[in-house]
């Protein structure tokens, strides 16, 4: 079961999302799509062209967009709300809380350009707080997609849920990891590698890095239990606790602030059920900057090398 990174197909989360909307449109006539003047970036535009009566570009007005979707959801539609993750989650935070989550409405929020993936646009556009905010809202499911294959599965499953779902997508092409695996299930951890020395819990694009790091660590004699935790909420507690009980060490890896994201979710769970030594790979409590995507990630602490380094330190420490 040990995963390696395929060197073939590269697809971006946004392209997969645009295609998934088209694929699901016929079988889900109740699905409508809203965007806030970034439809050509988030790739909802193709749906809008094919189904103009079910597509609403509301202009640069995220709060209004979120609540229009809330009103639609009370009338039996299944709105998919799309824009950049940062603007969706922070500009419409109170709307998402008080209309969607308070009323447990089945609205899907698709946060594009998540993490540092809008790398050249700089800190004003990079979203490393969205998971912390969305995770704190009652009723909200929080899902971070690890590859393009997962995007379609997550969207299809979110359309079957009876409450709100946040899907976090990346901007840039990344390797297809799960073409030959059972489809993503919201709320279920995927085990990508079995080992007894260290648990690596990862979500999103850095899953690729974690796979590479696990292989490197294997060369150094460290057997990694590698978990892809695509759903931060509801967390697959049992799978996580079982792994932590086995390894006694957990390193979380995410394209997000180390405050309140996957690391927070894992720490909250394990503090109650299986306290272990932990560390966190993510953006420390600071603002990022413009630059090439992978270089930016590396500068802000997210890379295979950083995962290996923190893993070695964790394994050197007492359990």
């Amino acid at each position: 079961m040990n995963r390696t990174v395929p060197t073939t197909a590269m697809t971006s989360g946004r392209d997969a999302f645009g295609q998934a909307l088209l694929d699901l449109a016929e079988t889900h006539p109740e699905m409508v799509v809203l965007d806030a003047d970034v439809a050509s970036s988030t790739k909802t535009l193709a749906f809008g062209k094919r189904h103009p009566e079910r597509f609403f570009n509301v202009g640069v007005a995220e709060a209004n967009m979120a609540d229009i979707a809330g009103g639609m959801a009370t009338c039996g539609l299944r709105p998919v709300v799309s824009t950049f993750a940062l603007f969706l989650v922070l500009k419409a935070a109170e709307q998402i809380r008080n209309v969607t989550c308070y009323n447990n409405l089945p609205v899907i929020f698709a946060g594009g350009y998540g993490g540092l993936s809008d790398s050249y646009d700089g800190a004003s556009h990079q979203s490393v707080e969205d998971l912390a905010i969305m995770r704190s809202l009652p009723n909200m499911a929080v899902v971070v997609l690890g590859d393009a294959i997962e995007v379609g599965a997550a969207l299809a499953e979110a359309l079957r849920r009876n409450g709100p779902t946040y899907l976090r997508l990346g901007r840039n092409p990344s390797p297809i990891l799960f073409a030959h695996e059972p489809p993503l299930q919201i709320g279920r951890i995927r085990k990508l590698r079995d080992g007894g020395d260290l648990t690596l819990a990862v979500c999103g694009m850095p899953t690729v890095m974690a796979i590479e790091a696990a292989a490197e660590l294997a060369h150094r004699g460290i057997a990694v239990d590698l978990l892809e935790v695509s759903t931060l909420k509801p967390l697959d507690d049992d799978a996580l606790v079982a792994s932590a009980a086995k390894t006694g060490r957990v390193l979380t890896v995410e394209e997000h602030s180390v405050i309140g994201g996957l690391g927070g979710a894992v720490a909250e769970c394990l503090a109650r059920r299986q306290p272990v030594t932990m560390d966190f790979v993510g953006v420390e409590d600071r603002f990022s900057e413009s630059g090439d995507y992978l270089s930016l990630l590396a500068k802000y602490g997210i890379s295979s090398a950083a995962i290996v380094e923190k893993s070695l330190r964790l394994c050197a420490a007492k359990r």
């Binding site: 009566e53 209004n64 609540d67 229009i68 009103g71 039996g76 008080n98």
Partner: protein, 321 residues
């Protein structure tokens, strides 16, 4: 569930804990609904609205919490909507083709619950006994998943028009013909989101989307002219490409409200807005047109002083029935 919260409640027109208060003759709500003569129907709705003010005052007094000013301001508008303006089925609150009303000024909750109760959604005694209390269906601000008839949870200002726009667009997508109304106050019009929705509604132009403005010109901290000036409101809406009813419409005169709905029914240009001139705290002289009674406690002395005024007006309205 706790034991029946109504069991301990004696429907005493709000006299609990104090001296007995003079009562009034509640009008039969069913009789208001089926009244065939328009003039008599408006008189009955006028009476019912005033009666609801007394019920709200009694509830706020009995429970020691709640908002009087914005509730009193919307009495006639809400009563007209539920007893004449809207097509609803209290026995089937989720009937798909019902007309929708989003009460964006959610602090008017006591009035909304009182009128929903009179319309048959739940017992009026439940409002008085449990308003804003633990385990109640009558939340401080409206909650759609707790209270039958409430179409959207509100309270935080500025959400309503966006939500109603979503409902109206859903009607278009699903080829339904229900009406989507939203009731906003001065405070909602301070919120940037409302103006985002005003622009978006004028872009998408869904049929039967109606913005009702309870324009009482007072908000929590003071007159809106001081806190955040809104004038000239109808002109602003027209400049945003809305179809605005001719002004002024007296939002406390049911005949004028009915006439504004007559205007609404023949419109072909959407979205439509009606600006109602109202008074915050309407009905009690010392509570009218002041921010002081936005949400202040109705204590025993206030209750004893305010109630006779409301009753005196009710008596005059009874003579016109």
């Amino acid at each position: 569930m706790q034991s029946n919260p109504l069991a301990a409640y004696d429907d005493d027109n709000g006299a609990e804990g104090g001296c007995p208060l003079s009562t009034f003759r509640p009008i039969d709500p069913q009789g208001v609904l089926v009244e065939p003569n328009a003039a008599r129907k408006w008189a009955k709705i006028q009476y019912l609205a005033q009666e609801s003010r007394i019920d709200v005052l009694d509830t706020l007094h009995a429970r020691g919490t709640g908002h009087w000013g914005g509730a009193a301001s919307a009495a006639e508008l809400l009563t007209y909507l539920y007893f004449a303006g809207m097509n609803v089925r209290p026995a089937e609150p989720k009937w798909p083709d019902r007309d929708r009303l989003v009460v964006s000024k959610g602090h008017a909750s006591a009035m909304l619950y009182t009128i929903l109760a009179k319309r048959g959604y739940f017992p009026l005694a439940e409002v008085r006994a449990t308003f804003r209390q633990l385990d109640s269906r009558m939340q401080g601000h409206p909650c759609m998943n707790k209270t039958p008839g409430v179409e959207m949870s509100t309270g935080a200002l500025g959400h309503g028009l966006s939500v109603a726009l979503g409902m109206a667009l859903a009607a278009r997508v699903q080829a339904r013909t229900y009406w989507s109304y939203v009731l906003v106050g001065d405070g909602c019009l301070n919120e940037g989101q409302t103006w985002e929705a005003i622009m978006a509604a004028a872009k998408f132009r869904p049929e039967r989307l109606v913005l009702l403005i309870d324009y009482n010109r007072v908000q929590l901290d003071g007159p809106s002219a001081e806190i955040m000036p809104l004038d000239p409101l109808p002109e602003k809406l027209r400049a945003f490409n809305w179809n605005v009813a001719p002004n002024p419409v007296d939002g406390h005169d049911v005949r004028e409200i009915a006439a504004s709905f007559d205007w609404l029914r023949v419109q072909r240009q959407w979205p439509a807005a009606i600006v109602y001139a109202t008074h915050k705290g309407q009905g009690v002289s010392f509570m009218t047109d002041t921010a002081q009674w936005h949400g202040a406690l109705v204590d025993d002395a206030t209750h004893a002083k305010a109630r006779p005024e409301l009753l005196a007006t009710l008596g005059r309205l009874e003579a016109a029935l």
